[in-house]
Symmetry: C2
Subunit: 229 residues, 2 copies
């Protein structure tokens, strides 16, 4: 059995890759170089793919800066910083990249169909203040319907299943799951800022650090500013 | 009002662009360089975009040869040739590119959301022996649902509408429509083979030539082999 795993190199998608392995799949990772601000994550994706000993790791390159529309693809927009976790609302944040998960899932679907895979794993999470429209269960269900109707496999009754192991988990539960699965956290990357060392103050770093702190665990990643340690 | 138009440079998408103009939209064209075999079409897309005087023309580059799976993205697979129109069945042909329209629509959606467009035009056609799963009405409806749920705009009740002016038209009707709209056929490109002159024998050339012939019209494009003229 083969599975494609959308791997950003972050905490969530790395956990999902290890979950796919634990579920018995031969793993094919796919990452995206979309000229994102936090391109350091691509190195992490490569490292995690090697650690997990995937069968193949595809990196698809394109440029979402062509039209921007997000703080992650437009350097003139500032990243939110120094927000405590309880200051993050359920609003859609400016780090939302228009239709990003739809693009990622589409490429994942193409790859999965070409290699005749049965499943596509994605680390979306509808909790933890993400607010992203393309991380919610009803959206995933709509994409599953596209998978059924928009492919040769689907039309022949062999739909590639979208698997979302983290969709209902809090960040602390994801870390506990990753610990059980042996995810090498020091190889992962969550920071939005894209420097060589995680900033510690963007929303993504804050969420991660808060979750490790809540569990009384040490995040082995190096940070410039560590509000929660 | 703004519309994004998926523009391959072929007969269908060129007609769709002219239809969007006639519908009163400010037009933003988007084309895809996916390392397809018939890359000559990208020159046509550029020419048509200029003829139609679009506001902007984005070309997104990525490489679908990374995993192939289609005669259009894998040179080791032969294109079907010399098939009369009545030899083409409703089977899914080997020129089907896994999830291609899903990828195209996803990028179109991202672009449309970033520029705050109201509509996305695509020249899919469910008739004329295409057999492609991602050209059928139920698939388009599924993607429309993704547009509603997977974007900020959609969640805020301002869904980008997918417009498919050609979905129920025969190729002859598309040519009649294009003639009314003033589409410069000599600038378009339909051939799958990707040379400097259209081959005249691939399925796509055969369909086009047969339709012009049926209408008693002259296709102004130059062909190497012209079975129907």
């Amino acid at each position: 059995m083969k599975a494609v795993i959308l791997l950003s190199g972050g905490l969530d998608s790395s956990t999902v890759l290890y979950q796919a392995k634990a579920d018995g799949y031969e793993c094919y990772a796919i990452s995206f170089d979309y000229q994102q601000r936090h391109r350091r994550e691509l190195q992490s994706a490569d490292a995690i793919a090697r650690c997990a000993n995937v069968k193949e790791h595809q990196v698809v390159s394109f440029d979402l800066r062509q039209w921007g529309g997000s703080a992650l693809t437009d350097d003139s927009m500032d990243l939110p910083e120094h927000r405590c976790v309880d200051q993050m609302s359920q609003d859609i944040p400016i780090t939302y990249v228009p239709a990003r998960n739809t693009i990622f899932l589409s490429f994942g679907l193409s790859y999965a169909e070409a290699i005749d895979a049965q499943a596509l794993y994605i680390g979306v999470n509808a909790l933890d203040y993400s607010g992203y429209p393309d991380c919610r269960p009803d959206y995933i269900q709509a994409m599953q319907h596209v998978f059924e109707l928009g492919t040769k496999q689907g039309r022949e009754g062999q739909t590639i299943k979208i698997v979302t192991p983290l969709i209902d988990l809090k960040k602390t539960a994801i870390i506990e799951l990753g610990n059980q699965l042996g995810v090498p956290w020091e190889q992962t990357w969550s920071c939005y800022a894209g420097g060589d060392v995680a900033c510690g103050v963007c929303d993504s770093c804050q969420l991660r650090l808060a979750a490790f702190a809540e569990l009384g665990l040490n995040d082995p990643l190096l940070y410039q500013n560590q509000n929660f340690r």
